[in-house]
């Protein structure tokens, strides 16, 4: 029996507004517990919600970026349930009339394949507080700082067919919200949260199988693992004649398995109804157009441009446009390098990203500015230094020893490009190693490298490699 997985993702994105969606309390991360929850967030008797304009703008921006219908008249609804981290006993969300209607996201797959995944809707809602069970003995701590933070819940159509596709979708969404500057996408801090709905069905069947919801997937790696495990589990259940139970499961990364959450007696009846404390959100064409004008160049467009203008491969362009900051860094660097886009690409993707990864830094915290890197690359292209020496220069720049020119001067790293000088060095080396010369001339071609090495040693690595090679070949023949 061939099974086809059917996956849909629900992504909750915390919007990067300064104040909360319905109150003027701060949304800054990391404050001491319960210091950023005002009377409105605490659900005190008598308080009322007032909607944050930036949350609306960000939602619209997102909708426009995924080519979605923007709902001209959207409504907030109450989702009623009892839990200590939900102060009012209901969450203000959107139900029948979400602010963003159907749209789509194109995801890159292997072999340059692109799949278009439908986005069903995206709606605004308020976040709940946090429950902390581990820090207290026999009790649970409730921190309401997070209560009221604006969320955009993005729901995909169940059109993903594998864990790999799910991760690609999630990554693309992650890149997009950061490009749009509507969220910092920080998964450790909870600004970007993903739940997956997973089911399987016999290949060719139109009807969907019973699905389970996977929660607690807070990294790309976990998403892939969890989905794959769940697919396998469901297939096992079905193949041994059982039924898949509709339930919520948590991914346990330590045990690498999914587990049903503490069972609930009944499915939640949220009793949705339009929130009478809020009026319908009405958007006119002008407002939507104004938001459209603020859209930056989106990842796909930028990638295409990089490929066209800089002759980059799809893979290379993909890497360099993975984040807006990285893309901007690269462009600035290649400009500062005098348009040396290929060289700049290989330096950014190679040495720079290597150094960043090793130090655990994001591009925004890079100690070498784009213009400094570009200036250094220019010194390679104008032959002041060789590529190899440049690595030394880069390390010194990374450690804050100054800009490229200063380091080159200080450490005397200028390339030797004077042919006479190189010839001189070559002659000295050949004279000093007559045996190897004879062996080389006798057919041991590998010894070429030996002479190169010797010459480099003699010039402390500064001989221009191209010239050295050319002159050495001449001298040896």
């Amino acid at each position: 029996m061939e099974w086809e997985p059917v996956i849909g993702l629900e992504i909750h994105v915390q919007l990067a507004t300064r104040s909360k969606i319905f109150s003027a309390a701060s949304t800054a991360y990391g404050a001491a517990p319960n210091t950023q929850a005002c009377a409105v967030d605490l659900g005190m008797p008598g308080v009322l919600p007032v909607l944050n304009t930036r949350a609306v703008q960000m939602a619209v921006k997102f909708g426009v970026a995924i080519d979605a219908q923007i709902t001209r008249r959207s409504v907030f609804a109450r989702k009623n349930y009892f839990y200590p981290d939900l102060p009012k006993g209901y969450q203000i969300s959107q139900y029948e009339l979400p602010i963003v209607g159907p749209g789509h996201l194109d995801i890159p797959l292997e072999n340059d394949e692109v799949r278009r995944i439908g986005v069903t809707r995206a709606h605004l809602e308020e976040d709940a507080g946090k429950s902390l069970h581990e820090d207290f003995h026999g009790l649970s701590g409730i921190d309401l700082n997070r209560a009221g933070t604006p969320l955009l819940e993005i729901v995909s159509e169940p059109e993903l067919r594998s864990a790999v596709e799910a991760v690609a979708y999630m990554k693309k969404m992650h890149t997009l919200v950061r490009y749009l500057e509507i969220s910092d996408g920080n998964m450790q801090e909870g600004s970007f949260r993903c739940d997956a709905n997973v089911s399987v069905r016999p290949r060719g069947q139109a009807a969907l199988g019973t699905r389970t919801e996977l929660k607690n997937l807070n990294s790309f790696r976990f998403v892939e693992r969890a989905i794959n495990i769940e697919i396998e589990r469901q297939i096992d259940v079905l193949e041994s004649g059982g039924q898949v139970t509709q339930e919520t499961r948590l991914y346990d990364s330590a045990r690498d398995e999914t587990r049903a959450m503490r069972s609930k007696e009944e499915a939640f009846d949220y009793r949705y109804f339009p929130d009478p404390d809020l009026l319908p959100v009405v958007l006119d064409e002008e407002t939507i157009e104004a938001v459209r004008q603020t859209l930056p160049e989106l990842p796909d467009a930028r990638r295409a441009r990089f490929m066209a203008d800089f002759g980059l491969s799809s893979y290379e362009a993909g890497v360099l446009t993975a984040s807006r900051e990285l893309a901007e860094y690269y462009e600035a660097a290649q400009t500062a390098a005098g348009g040396e886009y290929r060289l700049a690409a290989s330096w950014v993707m190679g040495e720079l990203m290597g150094a960043l990864n090793k130090a655990g830094l994001e591009i925004t915290a890079c100690p070498v500015s784009a213009s400094s890197l570009g200036a250094m690359i220019r010194r390679i292209s104008d032959n002041t230094i060789s590529g190899k020496i440049a690595k030394q220069v880069f390390v010194a720049m990374w450690q804050g020893e100054g800009d490229a020119d200063a380091i080159i001067e200080q450490q005397g790293l200028r390339q030797v490009t004077d042919s006479d000088v190189i010839e001189q060095v070559i002659e000295e080396i050949l004279a000093a190693n007559p045996e190897q010369v004879a062996q080389y001339r006798g057919g041991k071609e590998k010894l070429f490298g030996f002479f190169v090495g010797q010459a480099m040693k003699a010039t402390r690595g500064k001989a221009n490699p191209a010239q050295l090679n050319e002159l050495l070949k001449k001298k040896l023949s």
């Binding site: 104040s19 003027a24 007032v50």
Partner: protein, 69 residues
């Protein structure tokens, strides 16, 4: 609309209200009576009527994104 004890217990739990055993019968009666009153709404055809969102036909005002203590 008839409402029985089971229904009342379910509703009470959904609303997180503990009811005393001796009160459940009375509540069941009360609720059934009230729903009887409400049944009168059935008499009117409202197929083409737009539900009222608010007495005023206004739209939501937007607040600037500023932190205030």
């Amino acid at each position: 609309m008839s409402l029985d004890r089971d229904d009342v217990e379910k509703i009470a739990h959904l609303a997180r209200l503990a009811l005393r055993e001796e009160d459940i019968a009375r509540y069941t009666r009360n609720l059934a009576d009230i729903l009887g009153l409400v049944e009168q709404m059935e008499a009117v055809d409202t197929r083409d009527v737009v539900p009222m969102a608010h007495p005023l036909e206004r739209c939501q005002r937007l607040r600037p994104d500023e932190v205030r203590n």
